[in-house]
Every structure is written in C-alpha cells, then in structure tokens.
C-alpha cells in the first residue's frame, strides 16, 4: 500500500508531510529510550527484514495480492518509536531508489504506514497482551492481533485522506468499504507473518523482544532442585 504521486492533491500531501516530520521528530526522542547497545543492531535488522518482506507480494483472493507492512512486527520487536523510524527508513529508500511510492507522497506514506499503522499495531498489541494470559507465548498472538488491525487502519486512514484531498471523483463510502475490506484480508497475511517472526525470536531470545519485556519482568523465577517439584518462588 504505497501511495503514488498524484493520488492526493498538493495541500493534503504537504499536510501529511508536516504530520510525518513532526511524528519523526517525536520518534527520534522516543527511540532513545528504547534503544541500547544490544537492541540497536536488532532494529537495523528489523528495518532490512521489513524492506525485504515488502518486496514479496502474497496472493489475496482473485487477482489481488498484498505484502508485509511490518508495522506490528517492528513495533513489537523493537518498540513503537523505533518502529516508526524503522518503517520510515524503508519507505524513504523505496521512494528514492526503487520508485516504490511517490516522492511527493512520501509524507503520506510515512503518515499512513509508519505513524498510523505502527500506532494502531502497538496499542492493539498492548490491549491484546493485557487481555490474554500473562505468558510469553501470548506475545506472538497479541502481535498478530496488532498486525491484523494495523493494515485496514492504514487503508481506512488513506480513504479518509482521499475524502479530503483526492484527485478523482469517487464515492468515499465505496472507497472506504473496498479499501478496508481488501486490506483486512491482507492483514490476515500480515498477522501470520508477524506471529511467525515474533514467535521465532521469542523462542530463542525473548529478552530481545521489546513487547515481551513486561511479561518477562512479571514472570516469577521458579527454583527447582534435583528431584524437586516446582513451587519454590523467589
């Protein structure tokens, strides 16, 4: 879902550019609190994985495809502020080097995929994590819920932007319905990929998953000696 040049009018593109610039300034401040010596390389790798993942389109329905957005994946793995920067780096390189997403629409794409999608993914993830049992295994499931909803949320936001500054006469109701319904299907693929990747990282290094930190911190340390039943809690 990369918005091309000319999809939205100039004032709307400028406005979304300003929103994106403001959000990135906030993200730079927020990411300082999320990143350390161990997670900074991980965040770089997440950017590269999202970039590669966005190049692979998976089939959705008849004659349509979708691709990873990576907002939920990045938010859960490295934190929401870092995820905003991570997805933005991907979008900037795509626009500048691969002509994937318009240059004049770069602010729009950052607003939709790095701000709206990451924000929805992160807060939905937090709600799901709070509702599901407080176990590490709940983190991939919660991440899937966040990823699932992040894609139609961004599609819905684009439809609303089109209502304000669209360059073609079209029923906004029809656009909103088509965009959200198709991207809900794409969101299913997004959710599966996100759960698989987050689950894989959690299986080997749960401490490197930002979204798992509260669960790990709350996990009780069970001390078990040889031949003893678990139960001693430190």
């Amino acid at each position: 879902m990369h918005v091309p040049d000319g999809f939205l009018d100039a004032p709307t593109s400028v406005a979304t550019g300003l929103v994106a610039a403001g959000a990135l300034a906030l993200a730079i401040r927020g990411a300082r609190r999320e990143l350390d010596d161990r997670t900074a390389p991980m965040a770089g790798l997440v950017s590269a994985f999202v970039f590669a993942g966005q190049m692979v389109n998976f089939p959705v329905g008849v004659g349509t495809s979708g691709h990873l957005v990576g907002a939920g994946l990045a938010a859960v793995l490295v934190g929401p502020w870092t995820a905003m920067l991570s997805v933005s780096v991907v979008l900037i390189v795509q626009a500048l080097l691969l002509a994937d997403g318009g240059l004049t629409a770069l602010g729009t794409n950052i607003t939709l995929l790095a701000v709206v999608a990451v924000g929805v993914a992160w807060w939905t993830f937090r709600v799901a994590r709070a509702v599901l049992p407080r176990r590490v295994s709940s983190v991939p499931a919660s991440a899937a819920v966040g990823a699932l909803l992040s894609v139609p949320a961004a599609a819905g936001a684009l439809s609303l932007l089109f209502a304000v500054g669209g360059t073609a006469p079209v029923s906004i109701g029809a656009l909103l319905t088509a965009m959200v319904s198709w991207h809900l299907l794409i969101g299913l693929g997004e959710a599966l990929i996100t759960a698989a990747v987050v689950g894989s990282v959690i299986a080997v290094r749960p401490d490197l998953v930002y979204g798992a930190r509260p669960v790990l911190a709350a996990r009780r340390l069970v001390l078990r000696g040889p031949g003893q039943e678990p139960g001693a809690v430190a």
Partner: protein, 93 residues
Amino acid sequence: MKPRTLLLGGLLVTLLLAAAAAAVGSTHPDGLEYVSGRLGLTSPPHQHAAGTPPHLHTGSVLVRVAATLLVLGLGWGLFWLLRGRATDSDGEG
C-alpha cells in the same frame, strides 16, 4: 542463542527473502492498486518493487540485495547513533 548468532541468522533469511522476492512473490496488483483500478482512481497502475519497475529488470537480484543491505546499514547506523542508556528493565513509556 547469542545475539550475534540471531543477527546473522536473521540477516541470512532477510537476504534470501530479498533475492527470491521476484521469484516467489505474486505478480497480481496489491490492495491499493486493485481498488484504485476498480474505482478508476489512478490511470497508470503503481508498480511494486517486486514487480516490474523497468530499472529493476536487469540485475534485479543484485539490486534488491544491495538495497536491502543499504537499509540495514542506514537503520543500524541511525539506531546506533540514537541508542541511549535503556536497559532490559526499562518500561514501555
């Protein structure tokens, strides 16, 4: 598993994904392109990086892998510069 092993494994998967993108990816339009086409929002359909942008036809595997490494370098550098004094016990803010 050591973090370095995880990073190297992740990098390998990422580069394989980038290299194989065109071969394994669907060539159908994505959601926005499909809806745009159906509703007549844009004339020339937007092409995805894994699809058919002209400059990606030649040496596309190399271009995709190089671009992925560029993103890795940019991201790693940016996040290394931004890294603070956060620790595992830090909250989510």
